[in-house]
């Protein structure tokens, strides 16, 4: 059985039907990517999974535990963390304090220290800038901080929303290198990206989202060679 299993969720913004019978699953140790155009419902999906939006019907199960009945903050305790779009780090707190906030739900000090070492191993830059204010970091560093902060909550699944957003191409590559490292350290990741090319390079499987429902689901390798994906999402003729 999959680690995270989403079955037929329907989400509405008022009268607008944003997600239509959406189903997907993520296995332990996978990177799964959800690609799609602007407004296809990528972020809506992540918000629903992390409990900020409530689906009108359908189920979200983590290891068989039905999550839709919990409020957003309790979903974190149950092992799912959301790295929001646009990074949203705490600008007035130091890097260290940001990371500590990430560990808010973890009361085991021993575990916190292990996680912190893990984060600093993957993002040595954060260790250097431990005492600096979050708001003074560069865009790439802020993205690192947002990912590190999420890792501190010791999640079973980590949702990454558009990590490439607003970053220079060089930085995008290095951020995705970090995503690989996070994966190598044992993290299960659901990655939402507009940049389909790079997302499919790191992921093992992918879903293509079109106007609120899954249009295609396949392995990343197959999607990379898929005619439609190449044309629509990678901009190739």
């Amino acid at each position: 059985m999959a680690l995270l299993e989403v079955k037929n969720i329907n989400v509405y913004y008022g009268k607008i039907h944003a997600l239509k019978d959406l189903s997907l699953n993520v296995d332990k140790g996978e990177i799964v990517t959800l690609i799609g155009a602007n407004g296809a419902g990528k972020s809506t999906t992540l918000k629903t999974l992390s409990g900020i939006l409530k689906p009108r019907s359908g189920s979200v199960q983590l290891e068989g535990d039905e999550l839709t009945r919990y409020p957003a903050h309790q979903i974190v305790t149950r092992g799912m963390i959301h790295v929001p779009e646009g990074r949203r780090i705490f600008g007035r707190l130091t890097v260290q304090e940001n990371l500590e906030m990430g560990a808010f739900t973890v009361k085991n000090e021993q575990l916190n220290r292990t996680n912190l070492t893990k984060v600093f191993d993957i993002f040595p830059r954060l260790k250097e800038r431990r005492k600096q204010l979050g708001g003074t970091l560069s865009g790439g560093e802020q993205q690192m901080l947002a990912m590190g902060r999420a890792m501190m909550s010791n999640p079973k699944v980590l949702f990454l929303d558009e990590p490439s957003m607003g970053l220079a191409p060089v930085l995008v590559d290095s951020i995705f290198e970090n995503v690989r490292q996070m994966h190598a350290s044992g993290m299960t990741i659901l990655l939402v990206e507009q940049n389909a090319r790079i997302a499919l390079q790191v992921a093992s499987r992918g879903y293509v989202l079109q106007t609120g429902s899954i249009a295609l689901a396949d392995t990343a390798a197959n999607l990379q060679t898929n005619e439609m994906v190449r044309k629509v999402y990678m901009g190739e003729a």
């Binding site: 305790t77 007035r92 500590e100 808010f104 005492k131 204010l133 708001g135």
Partner: protein, 555 residues
Amino acid sequence: MEQIRAIWRYGIKVGIIGGIVLILTALIGMIEVFTQRQIIADVVSMGHALYLAAGLFICYLAAERTTPAKPLWIISNSMFAGLTTAFFLVLLIILGRHVNLRLMFINASDLLLNNLLTFGVQGNDGLRLLLIAGMGVGLFTGLFYLLPKFLRTVILWSLAGSAFAGVLQELIRPILANNFPDVISEWLLTSDGLTLKGALSIFIFIALIVISWSIKGGGIRQGWQGLPKKQQSTWRTIGTIILLAVILIAPWRLGLFMSEVMTIVGLYVLLGLGLNIVVGYAGLLDLGYVAFFAIGAYVTALITSPEIMNLNWSFWSAIPFAIFFGILAGVLLGVPVLKMRGDYLAIATMGFGEIIRLLVLSDALRPFLGGSQGIGQIAKPQVLGFVFKGPQEIYYLIVAGCMLVIFVSWRLKDSRIGRAWKAMREDEDVAQAMGINLVSNKLLAFGTGAGFAALSGVIFGSKIGSIYPHSFNIMVSINIVCLIIFGGIGSIPGVIVGAAALIGLPELLREFAEYRFLVYGIALVVMMLIRPEGLWPEEAHKRELHEDKTNEATG
């Protein structure tokens, strides 16, 4: 010629602004009212000091901005600023001779225009004197600006110190009278101001302190840092004990009036610390905070007073009830505004404050809450026959309350709840994504803050003995928000300093009463410009506002 005009333009511009400001100050009656208080008896009144200080400040601005910064240009620019300012006042006086300004500005009295503004010289001689004085102030400021920085610092501190001593005679007088031989008091003070020799001795005294500090100060600081940790903490403990002792004997050494002022400040410290939890820690701007103060006071009144409910319980039994109802009200207010942020929250809470005031004022509820007549005969606290009657006794109650609240605030700040509040203050959505329960943490903040306000209300009610709805108007909330901002949002010592500065000083200077909110406004604007983090800021806030400096230091 072009160049010369460009250089003097700034001086004239500043002079125009200064002139307009001084005209306004004069027309709203500030100078005249302040003239009634002497700083140095029969030499300088507070009105004139204000008037001169404004002139000095204007000229200083002109001198500071002069480019190229050559002595001649600086002096001439500063003189131009002074002259322009004086010129505007001359225009006002001439206008006042031909037109009856009092139709619109009731404060534009003959005394003000033809006597006070011209330093007591009447007629056209006065006008000439005013223009010469303007230039003189400019010349003085220009020369002052050219002095080495060290001398400037010494003179500024000493001037400010003597002026402060003059303004705060009411504070100094009882201290001298109760604790020192009469000789000192006679040397320094007359019945309505400092003596000239007294002012001079204060000036020299402060100058000596500033000079010796600048010579030895660095060494002392280094010596302190060089001390081993253990010794530092011993000295700190000794310092705390001395401070406590001073706090405890203060009302008996300072007399009745000062005790009264201190109890008022203490009540605002209590209120400020409570609101500091809501606004400073959790970042929820609550403008209806006075409601919980009112609830505390009214619950006490209903329980202890023979009027209305005729329960006649003791003061002490009222405390838990008042705090309980305060917290309950805080949580009940919290529920409907949970989803609101920023401005919307401020307006909704402001409405709540008014609702409570109007409820206690209403005729419909008069049989239960006393209406506009209020409730009287509230019980005084008693312990084994000792009654907390006057301000000197109530003071201890307030100090105890403050200590309790300071302790709770301090413990909360770095607790798990405190961290949740901090995350919420920075970014609600992300806080939630980090697993922080917004609902319970917000309600907790509202409840805690309200509980502190209710405690303050209990003491307030008992202190004044009878309460009326008009004591709980919106200005109380605004005052508390102001003092928090002034002291430094989120900082415990900041609240104390803010309350002393914004509540204590105006009580000592009764002349300010009428201009209280004008002074608040100016103080807040100036504060936001020169020290936006507040007088005694919380660490994180200071860092944010001085980002560039910290970065240089760390990176």
